[in-house]
């Protein structure tokens, strides 16, 4: 995989589009299907221009029918295609849940390993756009609870491209969660196609005082928090799982053994959230003996996302929350 150093900078949304374009150029079995992804270019502009390039047989606009979109991915994947479906907002996956959870995830196992469902379902998740409770959900934890699904959440343009190309090449159903607020961020991304293997976490930043395990946009917020804390001499080590399930937790456990402390940060609600899984993995491992503070979680409040901007801001972890929580942990104030 090429390094991100010394390459041009593009935005996250451009990185996703570039991955889709290159996958479609390389393999005629790959096609896109979803609501308003054609001439409109997608609600967030991900597929802008792709309909003109590939035509309406490969960039397929659908009626508002989430169950049928997911099912269309399942059926075409079962019979030799490599569909990439788009669910316009992550919240709307609720309408396609049966096809995703009871069909896509289970077909292979139920049929004794004799069928494969190589599909990707892309969807923008997360809050911060002022769109209130039904357009701001972070439901990724649900899918990590379903054996047979892979769940990927890229936190940078570089990861978005490499992970999406890997997801399309994968023989399993993959839920690919993009964050609405990340679409506009820029970063170095190589022009040529490359893949980041699914299930491979990333040490985003090295440090010796505290391990911060963060997902999606929380990785970016943790990086900002780390810069502030560095002024105080506190060095955070940031681990991004990138693939939430299946998860290789080795890097995270090694990091906690090094720093002796762990803070987990995610946007989805705290109760039974993904952070609980990460915390449990840490305390179940050999890292337990190295802990010199409790494992802490910073997560979304257990509420639907509110409409009011200020309330919305306070519903999920922000940079200052990470700074404050990390400082307390490092200073042993627990």
């Amino acid at each position: 995989m090429p390094s991100a150093n010394g390459t041009r900078e593009i935005t996250y949304v451009e990185a996703v589009r570039e991955a889709l374009t290159q996958a479609m150029q390389a393999d005629e079995r790959v096609f896109l299907i979803g609501e308003d992804i054609g001439v409109y270019g997608g609600a967030f502009g991900v597929s802008a221009g792709m309909h003109a390039q590939f035509g309406d047989q490969r960039v397929i606009d659908t009626p508002i029918s989430e169950a049928a979109i997911v099912g269309a991915c399942v059926g075409s994947a079962l019979t030799g295609m490599r569909p990439v479906g788009e669910i316009q907002f992550m919240d709307f996956i609720t309408l396609g849940m049966e096809q995703l959870v009871l069909q896509a995830a289970k077909v292979r196992f139920m049929f004794g390993g004799k069928a494969s469902v190589p599909m990707v379902l892309r969807t923008p998740g997360g809050s911060g756009t002022g769109a209130a409770a039904q357009h701001s959900e972070s439901l990724e934890t649900w899918f990590t609870h379903v054996p047979g699904l892979k769940v990927v959440m890229p936190s940078s343009p570089y990861d978005a491209k490499g992970l999406l190309l890997a997801a399309i090449a994968d023989e399993n159903p993959v839920i690919f969660v993009e964050h609405k607020l990340l679409y506009k961020i820029s970063g170095p991304v190589p022009e040529e196609p490359y893949t980041i293997p699914l299930g491979q976490p990333n040490i985003v930043r090295s440090g010796q005082h505290l391990t911060v395990v963060a997902t999606s946009i929380m990785v970016q917020r943790a990086k900002q928090a780390a810069e502030e804390l560095a002024k105080e001499g506190i060095e955070l080590e940031i681990v991004d799982p990138r693939t939430l399930n299946p998860l290789d937790d080795t890097l995270m456990i090694q990091s906690v053994m090094k720093t002796g402390k762990a803070l987990i940060v995610h946007e989805s609600v705290k109760t039974s959230g993904y952070g609980a899984e990460l915390a449990a993995r840490i305390v179940e491992s050999e890292a337990f003996d190295y802990l010199d503070a409790p494992v802490r979680r910073l997560a979304g409040l257990d509420i639907p996302i509110p409409y009011n901007r200020n309330l919305e801001y306070h519903a999920v972890p922000q940079v200052e929350n990470i700074v404050a929580e990390a400082r307390k942990l490092v200073r042993g104030e627990y």
Partner: protein
Amino acid sequence: MAKTKNSKTSPVAAASTLSDAQLHEMLYTMMVIRRFEEKALELYSLGKVHGTMHLSIGQEATAVGASAALTQQDYLLNTHRGHGHCLAWGSQADLMMAEFMGKETGYCRGRGGSMHIANVDANNLGANGIVAGGLPISVGVGLSIKSRNTEQVVMVVFGDGASNEGAFHESLNMASIWNLPVIFLCENNQYAMSMPVEKSMRVERISERAAAYGMYGVTVDGNDPQAVFAAVLRARQQAVAGHGPTLIECNTYRYMGHSKSDRQAYRTREEVKAWMDKDPIERLAGNLGLKESAKEALFKKAEAEIAEAVSFAEASPEPDPADIMEGVYA
């Protein structure tokens, strides 16, 4: 065959009829299905088959007539009452029986059981425990066929209950707007578990719903394999010619309850008896002029085939728990 009013007319002419040899073959397959399910029920009662059991006894003509109209290249998606579809599609009774007993030699290596049986190598993409679960998948298979530009079709079988699920409506609409080669085959056996079809919808026929999607819809006698065959053959020709999907409603009846726990308080003995008088096997045997002794001989042959399947299944090994994680991911 009554064409539903308001439906788009079929541009393809009515299908050809079956030869006597083909009808004899159909009759035998129906007998194999009947004996297979009777045996499965017996094994269930003995505790050798577990979980739940949805029998299609009485519905054999639909499975056999529909399968006969399709080719080996076509795809099948079906339902939890799908033993008949699987056998009619050409699956082996021994590998099916092994699956029912949860054995490693079964079609799904004992991971799926009777409700999730598939024969992927034969383009049988599996039975579904969710009543409308196969319909959205059939849209994807149709899309895939269209993309690959082959002369295949996909037939998705579902019950009357599934036609009240949202997935039914999303799927018919999508398949229709894109002219996909999908045959939506509804087995109307008059009850969704205990819910009678006349109480669950205000239209007389499920096939009328096709009109809402600009699709050809037709209701046929599901106990007449020839009628089912003709309707499916025409739907296939229509699909291959690029005229899109068809909704076929096959009126039939299950003699047994919904599943093993069903006490059938929702229907009368007289009603069941009235349908038994229209038994598809007896009817076809009669139409073919089969003597009682010849019919019995055929049933005996089917029984022997099923007995062998049971022996194979009983002698087959159990799956090894060491392999339990296999197949979750590719």
